[in-house]
């Protein structure tokens, strides 16, 4: 195993770790708000559950990028490629967009979901509009995901 492979593995790890942290915070904080609403009105469970789940996607995106990176360097098949340091660093750099944006957007989407749950608590008929606000944050996680996937896929190994 070369130093390049270690860098690539590190890239995959931080993609999962940072985006997972962002999602864990987002889903956690939205879950607290959802619990508060359901305590008073259990009929709103389904609506607030959907809002709670929105910040969970960043963790999935991080996992996806990590899978692609691991697959690219042969770690999934059990035959790791002999990567140069430069190639390993390129894989690491490719994982950074979803890692960093996943962390930040997951936290912010969680907070926006909390406010959206507040809308559903008072005006359940406005659920569609309420869902749009946290969904807007998702845009930036998707952009980061696209860049990470495109970059990892196009690194010559």
């Amino acid at each position: 195993m070369t130093m390049g492979t270690v860098y690539a593995l590190f890239g995959a790890a931080i993609a999962v770790i940072l985006s997972g942290m962002g999602s864990a915070f987002g889903v956690g904080v939205a879950g607290q708000a959802a619990s508060g609403v359901v305590t008073e009105d259990p009929s709103k469970f389904a609506k607030v559950l959907i809002l709670q789940l929105l910040p969970g996607t960043q963790g999935i995106y991080g996992l996806l990028v990590a899978f692609i990176a691991l697959s690219k360097v042969g770690l999934l098949s059990g035959q790791p490629a002999e990567l140069s340091v430069a190639t390993g660093l390129m894989v690491l750099a490719s994982c950074l967009p979803i890692a960093v944006v996943g962390l930040v957007s997951g936290r912010h989407q969680g907070k926006t979901a909390v406010s959206a749950i507040g809308i559903v608590a008072k005006k359940p008929d406005q659920f569609g509009k309420a869902m749009l606000f946290p969904a807007m944050v998702e845009t930036y996680a998707i952009l980061a995901l696209l860049v990470s996937i495109l970059a990892v896929n196009n690194i010559p190994v």
Binding site: Q32, A33, G36, V37, K111, V114, A121
Partner: protein
């Protein structure tokens, strides 16, 4: 680390749906008499509907207790609500001193759920052990007790304790992390100072009397209030025109009810932005204040019904609602 109120605020958002709107209050006013108004409140889940002939006082006390019980369930550390609880605590101190000195333990003179309780304060005052009272209270309790036991002048006793309560509210507001609590404490004390100045002016009280009762704030100068109070109400209103309480000048001529209404509405205006706050204690404080304002408004309506006041007179006294 900042405290987390996300769960509690989400619960409060659901509870806010039960707050009375102006339309519901109009329906309550339209009830034909006091009994049907009580029935209307029972139908809306107020008080204890199973209890027949429930008095307005009891019904409203139950509602106040429900509000605090909800908040205690959601927020384990109630220290942030100290600003709102101080008036009850100092009310109990007044009642405890008067109970000890007069030896007359009147029924229901204490407000429940204070720490220490009114009964405990009576024990401590009887034993002369003021050191067991909260720190802010010790000096004023001792002074008020000495004064009342020697002069039996309830007004001086009240002034000493009321001033200490205002100082405690202001200090608690300054120590609070949340901007709403700071603003609420400042406005509460400033309005109290204005009330004192207006009453002192009407009853021709001296500067010394006002000095004993007023607490300095950032938004009104008590020196200017005292100075203008000696010249008359018009001068006080002219001075207030230079402050953020300028609106008082417009309502003061309409009578005491309109003035009290304006003061309560100012607090409602202060808390209204909290409807859009999902993260800080301010949203919970705003809910409690909104509930207390709602209960006060219902009390005014029930009192109007009991005394068979015309609907227009009751309507004049209606406070702005939070929702």
């Amino acid at each position: 680390m900042a405290k987390n109120y996300v769960y509690a605020i989400a619960r409060v958002r659901s509870l806010e749906l039960n707050l009375f709107t102006k339309t519901v209050l109009e329906q309550l006013i339209a009830e034909k008499d006091y009994e049907s108004a009580i029935g209307f409140l029972h139908d809306h889940g107020w008080g204890n509907p199973e209890e027949s002939n429930e008095s307005a006082d009891k019904l409203l006390t139950v509602e106040e207790e429900k509000t605090w019980a909800d908040i205690r369930e959601m927020v384990p550390d109630m220290s942030a609500f100290e600003v709102l609880l101080i008036p009850d605590l100092y009310h109990n101190l007044k009642a405890a001193i008067k109970t000890v000195v007069s030896g007359d333990a009147g029924a229901n003179v204490f407000i429940k759920d204070t720490n220490p309780s009114g009964e405990k304060m009576v024990e401590l005052i009887k034993a002369g052990d003021f050191s067991q009272l909260p720190k802010d209270m010790q000096e004023c309790a001792s002074e008020a007790f000495e004064s009342f036991s020697h002069t039996m002048d309830g007004q001086i006793c009240d002034i000493i304790i009321d001033k200490a309560a205002l100082s405690a509210i202001l200090a608690a507001g300054e120590d609070a992390e949340d901007g709403l609590l700071k603003e609420y404490a400042e406005r509460y004390v400033a309005i109290a100072d204005i009330r004192i100045a207006l009453r002192a002016s009407l009853t021709h009280k001296s500067t010394d009397f006002m000095k004993r009762a007023m607490v300095p704030t950032k938004t009104v100068s008590i020196e200017r209030l005292m100075q203008t109070a000696l010249q008359g109400v018009e001068e006080i209103l002219r001075y207030l025109g230079e402050t953020e309480y300028a609106g008082i000048a417009d309502v003061y001529d309409k009578g005491q009810a309109a003035f009290e209404c304006w003061c309560d509405n100012l607090i409602m205006e202060t808390i209204k932005p909290q409807k859009y706050n999902s993260f800080t204690i301010g949203a919970l404080v705003a809910y409690v204040l909104a509930r207390l304002n709602e209960i006060k408004t219902v009390r005014i309506i029930l009192s109007g019904k009991l005394n068979q006041l015309p609907e227009s007179d009751i309507r004049e006294r209606l406070r702005e609602m939070y929702v």
